[in-house]
Amino acid sequence: MATTLTHSGGAPPTPAKGRGWNYRLALALAAGTAVWLGLYLIIAQFARWLTRDVLGLDSRGRIGAAVEFFVYETPKVLLLLLAVVFVVGIVRTFFTPERTRAMLAGRREAAGNVLASLLGIVTPFCSCSAVPLFIGFVESGVPLGVTFSFLIAAPMINEVAVVLLFGLVGPRITMLYVGTGLTIAIVSGWVIGRLRLERFVESWVHTVKIGTAALDLELTARDRVMAGGVAVRDIVGKVWPYVFIGIAIGAGIHGYVPEGALAGILGRGAWWAVPAAVLIGIPMYSNAAGIIPVVQALLGKGAALGSVLAFMMSVIALSLPELVILRKVLRPPLIAAFVGIVAVGIMLVGYLFNAIL
Protein backbone atom coordinates (compact mmCIF):
# COMPACT_ATOMS: atom_id res chain seq x y z
CA MET A 1 0.00 0.00 0.00
CA ALA A 2 2.63 2.48 1.09
CA THR A 3 4.77 1.85 -1.96
CA THR A 4 1.83 2.33 -4.29
CA LEU A 5 1.13 5.65 -2.64
CA THR A 6 4.62 7.01 -3.02
CA HIS A 7 4.59 6.05 -6.67
CA SER A 8 1.20 7.49 -7.39
CA GLY A 9 2.09 11.19 -7.28
CA GLY A 10 -0.07 12.58 -10.06
CA ALA A 11 -2.48 9.66 -9.79
CA PRO A 12 -1.39 7.33 -12.60
CA PRO A 13 -3.57 4.39 -13.59
CA THR A 14 -1.95 1.74 -11.43
CA PRO A 15 -4.14 -1.32 -10.97
CA ALA A 16 -6.43 -1.18 -7.97
CA LYS A 17 -4.63 -2.51 -4.95
CA GLY A 18 -7.50 -4.05 -3.06
CA ARG A 19 -10.26 -2.37 -1.18
CA GLY A 20 -8.22 0.50 0.24
CA TRP A 21 -8.11 2.23 -3.10
CA ASN A 22 -11.81 1.95 -3.69
CA TYR A 23 -12.60 3.49 -0.29
CA ARG A 24 -10.22 6.33 -0.98
CA LEU A 25 -11.74 6.79 -4.39
CA ALA A 26 -15.30 6.87 -3.07
CA LEU A 27 -14.25 9.32 -0.37
CA ALA A 28 -12.48 11.59 -2.85
CA LEU A 29 -15.48 11.54 -5.19
CA ALA A 30 -17.88 12.36 -2.35
CA ALA A 31 -15.67 15.23 -1.19
CA GLY A 32 -15.40 16.52 -4.74
CA THR A 33 -19.15 16.40 -5.20
CA ALA A 34 -19.70 18.29 -1.94
CA VAL A 35 -17.24 21.05 -2.88
CA TRP A 36 -18.80 21.29 -6.33
CA LEU A 37 -22.33 21.61 -4.94
CA GLY A 38 -21.20 24.20 -2.40
CA LEU A 39 -19.61 26.32 -5.11
CA TYR A 40 -22.56 25.92 -7.45
CA LEU A 41 -25.01 27.11 -4.80
CA ILE A 42 -23.15 30.33 -3.99
CA ILE A 43 -22.44 31.58 -7.53
CA ALA A 44 -25.58 33.73 -7.79
CA GLN A 45 -24.89 35.41 -4.45
CA PHE A 46 -21.25 35.86 -5.30
CA ALA A 47 -22.11 37.50 -8.64
CA ARG A 48 -24.54 39.90 -6.97
CA TRP A 49 -22.06 40.74 -4.23
CA LEU A 50 -19.23 41.34 -6.70
CA THR A 51 -21.33 43.51 -9.02
CA ARG A 52 -23.17 45.58 -6.42
CA ASP A 53 -21.01 45.74 -3.32
CA VAL A 54 -17.49 45.45 -4.66
CA LEU A 55 -17.83 47.20 -8.02
CA GLY A 56 -20.78 49.36 -6.92
CA LEU A 57 -22.73 48.84 -10.16
CA ASP A 58 -26.48 48.98 -10.57
CA SER A 59 -27.59 45.66 -12.08
CA ARG A 60 -30.49 47.42 -13.81
CA GLY A 61 -28.05 49.64 -15.69
CA ARG A 62 -26.27 48.63 -18.89
CA ILE A 63 -22.80 48.01 -17.52
CA GLY A 64 -24.18 46.48 -14.33
CA ALA A 65 -26.39 44.04 -16.24
CA ALA A 66 -23.54 43.01 -18.52
CA VAL A 67 -21.07 42.55 -15.66
CA GLU A 68 -23.48 40.61 -13.46
CA PHE A 69 -24.37 38.38 -16.41
CA PHE A 70 -20.69 37.67 -17.03
CA VAL A 71 -19.66 36.99 -13.44
CA TYR A 72 -22.68 34.75 -12.90
CA GLU A 73 -22.76 32.74 -16.15
CA THR A 74 -19.03 32.11 -16.57
CA PRO A 75 -18.40 30.21 -13.30
CA LYS A 76 -21.77 28.49 -13.62
CA VAL A 77 -21.04 27.16 -17.10
CA LEU A 78 -17.47 26.19 -16.18
CA LEU A 79 -18.68 24.25 -13.13
CA LEU A 80 -21.34 22.47 -15.18
CA LEU A 81 -18.76 21.64 -17.83
CA LEU A 82 -16.37 20.28 -15.23
CA ALA A 83 -18.98 17.92 -13.78
CA VAL A 84 -20.49 16.75 -17.06
CA VAL A 85 -17.18 16.26 -18.89
CA PHE A 86 -15.88 14.25 -15.92
CA VAL A 87 -18.94 11.99 -15.84
CA VAL A 88 -19.03 11.61 -19.63
CA GLY A 89 -15.31 10.81 -19.57
CA ILE A 90 -16.07 7.90 -17.23
CA VAL A 91 -19.10 6.75 -19.23
CA ARG A 92 -17.00 6.76 -22.41
CA THR A 93 -14.59 4.20 -21.03
CA PHE A 94 -17.44 1.74 -21.58
CA PHE A 95 -17.87 2.75 -25.24
CA THR A 96 -14.66 2.44 -27.22
CA PRO A 97 -14.68 3.02 -31.00
CA GLU A 98 -13.69 -0.65 -31.38
CA ARG A 99 -16.77 -1.81 -29.52
CA THR A 100 -19.00 0.56 -31.45
CA ARG A 101 -17.61 -0.77 -34.70
CA ALA A 102 -18.32 -4.34 -33.64
CA MET A 103 -21.90 -3.36 -32.84
CA LEU A 104 -22.39 -1.69 -36.22
CA ALA A 105 -20.57 -4.14 -38.52
CA GLY A 106 -22.94 -5.81 -40.96
CA ARG A 107 -25.88 -3.92 -39.49
CA ARG A 108 -28.64 -3.22 -41.99
CA GLU A 109 -29.53 0.33 -42.93
CA ALA A 110 -32.36 2.18 -41.12
CA ALA A 111 -31.85 0.36 -37.81
CA GLY A 112 -28.12 0.77 -38.38
CA ASN A 113 -28.50 4.51 -38.94
CA VAL A 114 -30.44 4.92 -35.69
CA LEU A 115 -27.94 2.88 -33.68
CA ALA A 116 -24.94 4.65 -35.25
CA SER A 117 -26.37 8.09 -34.42
CA LEU A 118 -27.01 7.09 -30.80
CA LEU A 119 -23.55 5.54 -30.46
CA GLY A 120 -22.13 8.71 -32.01
CA ILE A 121 -23.22 10.58 -28.89
CA VAL A 122 -21.46 8.31 -26.38
CA THR A 123 -18.41 7.04 -28.28
CA PRO A 124 -15.29 9.12 -27.78
CA PHE A 125 -14.65 11.02 -31.01
CA CYS A 126 -12.36 13.77 -32.16
CA SER A 127 -12.52 15.06 -35.72
CA CYS A 128 -8.73 14.67 -35.82
CA SER A 129 -9.15 10.89 -35.83
CA ALA A 130 -11.99 10.89 -38.35
CA VAL A 131 -9.78 9.13 -40.92
CA PRO A 132 -8.79 6.01 -38.93
CA LEU A 133 -12.36 5.81 -37.67
CA PHE A 134 -13.82 6.04 -41.16
CA ILE A 135 -11.45 3.38 -42.54
CA GLY A 136 -11.99 1.16 -39.52
CA PHE A 137 -15.76 1.34 -39.93
CA VAL A 138 -16.03 0.97 -43.70
CA GLU A 139 -13.44 -1.78 -43.99
CA SER A 140 -15.01 -3.91 -41.31
CA GLY A 141 -18.36 -3.92 -43.06
CA VAL A 142 -20.23 -0.97 -41.59
CA PRO A 143 -22.34 0.42 -44.49
CA LEU A 144 -21.29 3.85 -45.79
CA GLY A 145 -24.58 5.53 -44.83
CA VAL A 146 -24.40 4.09 -41.31
CA THR A 147 -20.83 5.37 -40.98
CA PHE A 148 -22.05 8.83 -41.97
CA SER A 149 -24.83 8.77 -39.38
CA PHE A 150 -22.09 8.27 -36.82
CA LEU A 151 -19.86 10.97 -38.30
CA ILE A 152 -22.72 13.50 -38.28
CA ALA A 153 -24.04 12.77 -34.79
CA ALA A 154 -20.65 12.54 -33.05
CA PRO A 155 -19.56 16.17 -33.41
CA MET A 156 -23.07 17.68 -33.46
CA ILE A 157 -24.30 16.24 -30.17
CA ASN A 158 -21.39 16.54 -27.80
CA GLU A 159 -21.26 17.14 -24.07
CA VAL A 160 -19.92 20.68 -24.41
CA ALA A 161 -22.82 21.76 -26.64
CA VAL A 162 -25.38 20.11 -24.41
CA VAL A 163 -23.99 21.65 -21.21
CA LEU A 164 -23.84 25.13 -22.66
CA LEU A 165 -27.32 24.91 -24.15
CA PHE A 166 -28.72 23.54 -20.93
CA GLY A 167 -26.93 26.04 -18.70
CA LEU A 168 -27.50 29.15 -20.79
CA VAL A 169 -30.58 28.60 -22.91
CA GLY A 170 -32.62 26.05 -20.99
CA PRO A 171 -33.79 22.43 -21.07
CA ARG A 172 -36.52 22.87 -23.69
CA ILE A 173 -34.23 24.11 -26.44
CA THR A 174 -31.53 21.60 -25.41
CA MET A 175 -34.03 18.80 -26.02
CA LEU A 176 -35.05 20.33 -29.36
CA TYR A 177 -31.42 20.55 -30.39
CA VAL A 178 -30.60 16.96 -29.42
CA GLY A 179 -33.80 15.59 -30.95
CA THR A 180 -33.50 17.38 -34.27
CA GLY A 181 -29.73 16.79 -34.38
CA LEU A 182 -30.28 13.04 -34.02
CA THR A 183 -32.98 13.11 -36.68
CA ILE A 184 -30.66 14.90 -39.12
CA ALA A 185 -27.89 12.36 -38.45
CA ILE A 186 -30.22 9.39 -38.94
CA VAL A 187 -31.96 10.68 -42.07
CA SER A 188 -28.87 12.16 -43.76
CA GLY A 189 -26.95 8.92 -43.23
CA TRP A 190 -29.84 6.94 -44.61
CA VAL A 191 -30.09 9.17 -47.70
CA ILE A 192 -26.33 8.90 -48.32
CA GLY A 193 -26.68 5.11 -48.09
CA ARG A 194 -29.57 5.12 -50.62
CA LEU A 195 -27.56 7.21 -53.09
CA ARG A 196 -24.96 4.43 -53.46
CA LEU A 197 -21.96 6.70 -53.33
CA GLU A 198 -19.47 4.00 -52.37
CA ARG A 199 -17.50 4.56 -55.57
CA PHE A 200 -16.52 8.02 -54.32
CA VAL A 201 -14.55 6.63 -51.41
CA GLU A 202 -10.83 7.00 -52.19
CA SER A 203 -9.58 3.68 -53.51
CA TRP A 204 -6.53 3.50 -51.21
CA VAL A 205 -8.94 3.03 -48.32
CA HIS A 206 -9.70 -0.49 -49.56
CA THR A 207 -6.04 -1.43 -49.77
CA VAL A 208 -5.44 -0.75 -46.10
CA LYS A 209 -4.84 -3.89 -44.11
CA ILE A 210 -6.47 -3.51 -40.77
CA GLY A 211 -4.75 -5.16 -37.88
CA THR A 212 -6.66 -6.83 -35.11
CA ALA A 213 -4.39 -5.84 -32.26
CA ALA A 214 -7.27 -4.23 -30.46
CA LEU A 215 -6.36 -3.10 -27.01
CA ASP A 216 -7.65 -5.42 -24.42
CA LEU A 217 -6.85 -3.75 -21.15
CA GLU A 218 -8.91 -4.57 -18.12
CA LEU A 219 -10.00 -1.26 -16.68
CA THR A 220 -10.42 -0.92 -12.95
CA ALA A 221 -12.84 1.52 -11.30
CA ARG A 222 -9.85 3.70 -10.58
CA ASP A 223 -8.76 3.70 -14.24
CA ARG A 224 -12.23 4.83 -15.27
CA VAL A 225 -12.22 7.70 -12.77
CA MET A 226 -8.77 8.68 -14.02
CA ALA A 227 -10.17 8.70 -17.57
CA GLY A 228 -12.75 11.22 -16.34
CA GLY A 229 -9.88 13.35 -15.04
CA VAL A 230 -8.02 13.12 -18.33
CA ALA A 231 -11.19 14.17 -20.19
CA VAL A 232 -11.53 17.23 -17.94
CA ARG A 233 -7.92 18.23 -18.51
CA ASP A 234 -8.27 17.63 -22.23
CA ILE A 235 -11.66 19.20 -22.95
CA VAL A 236 -12.18 21.85 -20.27
CA GLY A 237 -8.51 22.79 -20.64
CA LYS A 238 -9.18 23.50 -24.29
CA VAL A 239 -12.58 25.20 -24.27
CA TRP A 240 -12.39 27.50 -21.25
CA PRO A 241 -11.04 30.50 -23.23
CA TYR A 242 -13.97 30.13 -25.65
CA VAL A 243 -16.37 30.10 -22.72
CA PHE A 244 -14.89 33.36 -21.43
CA ILE A 245 -14.91 35.10 -24.81
CA GLY A 246 -18.34 33.76 -25.80
CA ILE A 247 -19.96 34.84 -22.54
CA ALA A 248 -18.21 38.22 -22.70
CA ILE A 249 -19.66 38.84 -26.17
CA GLY A 250 -23.02 37.56 -24.95
CA ALA A 251 -22.84 39.91 -21.98
CA GLY A 252 -22.08 42.81 -24.30
CA ILE A 253 -25.10 41.98 -26.45
CA HIS A 254 -27.23 41.72 -23.32
CA GLY A 255 -26.28 45.11 -22.04
CA TYR A 256 -25.99 47.12 -25.23
CA VAL A 257 -28.11 45.74 -28.06
CA PRO A 258 -31.69 47.05 -27.76
CA GLU A 259 -34.57 44.59 -27.40
CA GLY A 260 -35.98 43.43 -30.71
CA ALA A 261 -33.15 44.97 -32.73
CA LEU A 262 -32.51 41.72 -34.52
CA ALA A 263 -36.13 40.86 -35.23
CA GLY A 264 -35.74 42.28 -38.77
CA ILE A 265 -32.52 40.49 -39.75
CA LEU A 266 -32.79 37.24 -37.84
CA GLY A 267 -36.52 37.30 -37.29
CA ARG A 268 -38.90 34.70 -38.62
CA GLY A 269 -40.22 37.03 -41.31
CA ALA A 270 -37.12 36.90 -43.47
CA TRP A 271 -37.22 33.70 -45.56
CA TRP A 272 -33.55 33.96 -46.48
CA ALA A 273 -32.43 34.09 -42.87
CA VAL A 274 -32.25 30.28 -42.52
CA PRO A 275 -30.13 29.50 -45.62
CA ALA A 276 -27.96 32.53 -44.85
CA ALA A 277 -27.43 31.27 -41.29
CA VAL A 278 -26.34 27.85 -42.60
CA LEU A 279 -24.00 29.31 -45.23
CA ILE A 280 -22.33 31.65 -42.76
CA GLY A 281 -22.03 28.80 -40.29
CA ILE A 282 -20.03 26.36 -42.44
CA PRO A 283 -16.72 28.25 -42.70
CA MET A 284 -17.10 29.59 -39.17
CA TYR A 285 -15.07 27.31 -37.04
CA SER A 286 -15.85 27.77 -33.43
CA ASN A 287 -16.73 25.14 -30.97
CA ALA A 288 -20.00 25.07 -29.10
CA ALA A 289 -18.40 26.83 -26.14
CA GLY A 290 -17.85 30.00 -28.12
CA ILE A 291 -21.03 30.06 -30.13
CA ILE A 292 -23.79 29.18 -27.67
CA PRO A 293 -23.41 32.19 -25.32
CA VAL A 294 -23.75 34.44 -28.38
CA VAL A 295 -26.75 32.46 -29.61
CA GLN A 296 -28.41 32.82 -26.24
CA ALA A 297 -27.96 36.59 -26.31
CA LEU A 298 -29.32 36.80 -29.86
CA LEU A 299 -32.43 34.86 -28.85
CA GLY A 300 -33.04 37.36 -26.07
CA LYS A 301 -32.97 40.22 -28.57
CA GLY A 302 -35.68 38.96 -30.89
CA ALA A 303 -33.86 36.56 -33.22
CA ALA A 304 -36.09 33.68 -34.35
CA LEU A 305 -35.36 30.29 -32.79
CA GLY A 306 -35.29 28.37 -36.09
CA SER A 307 -32.73 30.66 -37.73
CA VAL A 308 -30.55 30.65 -34.63
CA LEU A 309 -30.77 26.87 -34.23
CA ALA A 310 -29.80 26.45 -37.90
CA PHE A 311 -26.82 28.75 -37.44
CA MET A 312 -25.65 26.88 -34.36
CA MET A 313 -25.98 23.44 -35.99
CA SER A 314 -24.16 24.60 -39.09
CA VAL A 315 -21.24 26.00 -37.08
CA ILE A 316 -20.92 22.87 -34.95
CA ALA A 317 -21.78 20.04 -37.35
CA LEU A 318 -20.27 21.28 -40.61
CA SER A 319 -16.75 22.48 -40.07
CA LEU A 320 -14.24 23.24 -42.77
CA PRO A 321 -11.26 21.64 -40.94
CA GLU A 322 -13.16 18.37 -40.60
CA LEU A 323 -14.04 18.42 -44.31
CA VAL A 324 -10.36 18.91 -45.14
CA ILE A 325 -9.51 15.87 -42.99
CA LEU A 326 -12.26 13.78 -44.59
CA ARG A 327 -11.03 14.74 -48.06
CA LYS A 328 -8.19 12.22 -47.50
CA VAL A 329 -10.69 9.38 -47.67
CA LEU A 330 -13.61 10.88 -49.62
CA ARG A 331 -13.63 12.20 -53.18
CA PRO A 332 -15.21 15.62 -53.82
CA PRO A 333 -18.64 14.37 -55.02
CA LEU A 334 -19.13 12.47 -51.78
CA ILE A 335 -18.02 15.45 -49.68
CA ALA A 336 -20.43 17.66 -51.63
CA ALA A 337 -23.27 15.16 -51.09
CA PHE A 338 -22.48 14.99 -47.37
CA VAL A 339 -22.42 18.78 -46.93
CA GLY A 340 -25.46 19.30 -49.16
CA ILE A 341 -27.64 16.71 -47.44
CA VAL A 342 -26.75 17.83 -43.92
CA ALA A 343 -27.23 21.49 -44.90
CA VAL A 344 -30.69 20.76 -46.30
CA GLY A 345 -31.55 18.88 -43.10
CA ILE A 346 -30.45 21.81 -40.97
CA MET A 347 -32.45 24.24 -43.11
CA LEU A 348 -35.59 22.12 -42.78
CA VAL A 349 -35.13 22.20 -39.01
CA GLY A 350 -34.70 25.97 -39.15
CA TYR A 351 -37.86 26.56 -41.18
CA LEU A 352 -39.82 24.11 -39.05
CA PHE A 353 -39.02 25.94 -35.82
CA ASN A 354 -39.52 29.37 -37.34
CA ALA A 355 -42.97 28.21 -38.45
CA ILE A 356 -44.22 26.51 -35.30
CA LEU A 357 -42.68 28.55 -32.48
Binding site: H7, G9, G10, A11, P12, P13, T14, P15, T96, P97, E98, R101, P124, F125, C126, C128, S129, V131, P132, L133, I135, G136, F137, W204, T207, V208, K209, I210, G211, T212, A213, A214, L215, L217, M226, A227, V230, R233, D234, K328
Partner: protein, 77 residues
Amino acid sequence: MKIEILGPGCKRCQQLAENTKAAVKALGLDAEVVKVEDMQAIMSYGIMATPALVVDGQVRMSGKVIPASHIEALLQR
Protein backbone atom coordinates in the same frame (compact mmCIF):
# COMPACT_ATOMS: atom_id res chain seq x y z
CA MET B 1 12.05 -1.36 -25.44
CA LYS B 2 10.46 0.23 -28.49
CA ILE B 3 7.68 2.77 -28.06
CA GLU B 4 5.68 3.97 -31.04
CA ILE B 5 3.33 6.95 -31.14
CA LEU B 6 0.67 6.51 -33.83
CA GLY B 7 -0.96 9.60 -35.30
CA PRO B 8 -1.14 11.60 -38.52
CA GLY B 9 0.99 14.41 -37.09
CA CYS B 10 -1.65 16.48 -35.38
CA LYS B 11 -1.10 18.61 -32.32
CA ARG B 12 -2.48 15.98 -29.97
CA CYS B 13 -0.09 13.38 -31.36
CA GLN B 14 2.89 15.66 -30.80
CA GLN B 15 1.74 16.30 -27.26
CA LEU B 16 1.55 12.56 -26.58
CA ALA B 17 5.04 12.05 -28.04
CA GLU B 18 6.42 14.76 -25.76
CA ASN B 19 4.70 13.29 -22.70
CA THR B 20 6.07 9.86 -23.59
CA LYS B 21 9.61 11.14 -23.93
CA ALA B 22 9.28 12.84 -20.56
CA ALA B 23 8.01 9.60 -19.00
CA VAL B 24 10.85 7.55 -20.49
CA LYS B 25 13.37 10.07 -19.20
CA ALA B 26 11.81 10.17 -15.74
CA LEU B 27 11.95 6.39 -15.45
CA GLY B 28 15.44 6.25 -16.93
CA LEU B 29 14.35 3.60 -19.41
CA ASP B 30 16.44 2.45 -22.32
CA ALA B 31 13.68 2.96 -24.86
CA GLU B 32 13.40 4.24 -28.39
CA VAL B 33 10.44 6.57 -29.03
CA VAL B 34 9.31 6.67 -32.67
CA LYS B 35 6.45 8.53 -34.31
CA VAL B 36 4.44 6.62 -36.91
CA GLU B 37 2.59 8.99 -39.25
CA ASP B 38 1.76 6.81 -42.25
CA MET B 39 -1.96 6.00 -42.22
CA GLN B 40 -1.50 2.50 -43.68
CA ALA B 41 0.99 1.67 -40.95
CA ILE B 42 -1.26 3.19 -38.29
CA MET B 43 -4.24 1.16 -39.43
CA SER B 44 -2.23 -2.05 -39.39
CA TYR B 45 -2.34 -1.87 -35.59
CA GLY B 46 -6.12 -2.09 -35.66
CA ILE B 47 -6.74 1.15 -33.79
CA MET B 48 -9.59 3.50 -34.63
CA ALA B 49 -8.64 6.63 -32.77
CA THR B 50 -5.41 8.56 -32.73
CA PRO B 51 -3.11 9.28 -31.02
CA ALA B 52 -2.18 5.82 -29.82
CA LEU B 53 0.68 4.41 -27.78
CA VAL B 54 2.32 1.13 -28.80
CA VAL B 55 4.88 -0.59 -26.58
CA ASP B 56 6.92 -3.39 -28.14
CA GLY B 57 4.32 -3.92 -30.83
CA GLN B 58 1.38 -3.98 -28.46
CA VAL B 59 -1.27 -1.24 -28.42
CA ARG B 60 -1.55 0.07 -24.87
CA MET B 61 -3.70 3.18 -25.28
CA SER B 62 -5.59 4.90 -28.06
CA GLY B 63 -7.61 8.04 -28.65
CA LYS B 64 -6.34 10.13 -25.77
CA VAL B 65 -3.55 12.43 -24.78
CA ILE B 66 -2.48 11.18 -21.38
CA PRO B 67 -0.06 13.00 -19.08
CA ALA B 68 3.49 11.75 -18.51
CA SER B 69 2.62 10.41 -15.05
CA HIS B 70 0.00 8.08 -16.54
CA ILE B 71 2.44 6.92 -19.19
CA GLU B 72 5.00 6.14 -16.48
CA ALA B 73 2.50 3.93 -14.71
CA LEU B 74 1.56 2.29 -17.98
CA LEU B 75 5.19 1.52 -18.82
CA GLN B 76 5.76 0.00 -15.38
CA ARG B 77 2.75 -2.28 -15.52
